[in-house]
Symmetry: C2
Subunit: 100 residues, 2 copies
DNA sequence: ACGCCATATACACTTGTGCTTATATACGCC
DNA sequence: GGCGTATATAAGCACAAGTGTATATGGCGT
C-alpha cells in the first residue's frame, strides 16, 4: 500500500487529523473512532506507519502515535504541477469579472 | 468513489498526467496505457469524470478529455493544514544547519 | 442503408480491503 | 509469579475494485 491509498480511507484521514492536533496514544485514537473496534483502528495505524505517515514511540505499555511530516509531502509534490491549472482558472475568472 | 480514491489508482494518476500536458482523445489515452485494454481505460476515465477530475467534449465520433481544475483543489485544500508540519520541520533543519 | 471506426457498457472473475471475533504479546502492579 | 490493562496479530468473511472478453451504442464515409 502506498501513501495515496493510505489517505484514500476516510477513517485514516480522521486519524491523521487527530494526530495533527497533538500526539495521542493508540487507546485515545480508538476512543476517537467509536464506530470501529480496537483491532480495526490498530490495523489503520499499522498502514499509516508502513507508509511513513505516522511514527510510534513506546511509553510503558502505551504506544504514542505522532504525525510524521515527510509522508504527506510526497502527495504535495505530486499535486504541485497541477496547481497551476486552477490558479490559471481562477485568474481567468477574476479577469472576466473585472472586465465586464 | 471520491476524489481521494480516484487518485489512489496509479493508472488514473498516469491519465491525469497525460491530460496535464494537453487534451487528448480517449483513443490516445488508451494507446498511452498499453498494459490495459480499451474498456479498462474507459472505466478509469468514467471514474475520473464522476469525481469531477476530467471533462469530456465530443468531437465527431471521438471524445476529447480535458483536465478539470476544480477536482484536485479539494485534495489541495485538505493537505493545506498539514503543510505547516513539514514547513516547520524544514525550518528547524535549516536553522540547525545555519547555527552549527 | 451499410459497414467501419471510436467509445462505452455488461458480465463474470479474481484479488484486495476493511471489518469483527478471538487470541497473542507485553508491560505494570500487587 | 499472577493478573489486569494496552496494543497488536490471526483467521474468516463480505464487499468493492480492477480487469478481460464480449457486446452495445453511435457517428462517419461511401
Amino acid at each position: 500500500m502506498d501513501v495515496f491509498e493510505a489517505v484514500a480511507e476516510p477513517n485514516r484521514r480522521h486519524l491523521l487529523s487527530l494526530l495533527a492536533e497533538r500526539d495521542r496514544t493508540a487507546g485515545e485514537l480508538v476512543d476517537s473512532l467509536p464506530t470501529l473496534t480496537q483491532p480495526a483502528v490498530s490495523r489503520h495505524l499499522r498502514v499509516l506507519r508502513e507508509v511513513g505517515l505516522v511514527e510510534v514511540r513506546p511509553d510503558g505499555q502505551r504506544r504514542i502515535y505522532a504525525l510524521k511530516p515527510d509522508g504527506l509531502q510526497r502527495i504535495d509534490d505530486w499535486i504541485t504541477p497541477y496547481r497551476r491549472f486552477w490558479r490559471n482558472h481562477l485568474d481567468a475568472l477574476q479577469q472576466h469579472l473585472e472586465n465586464r
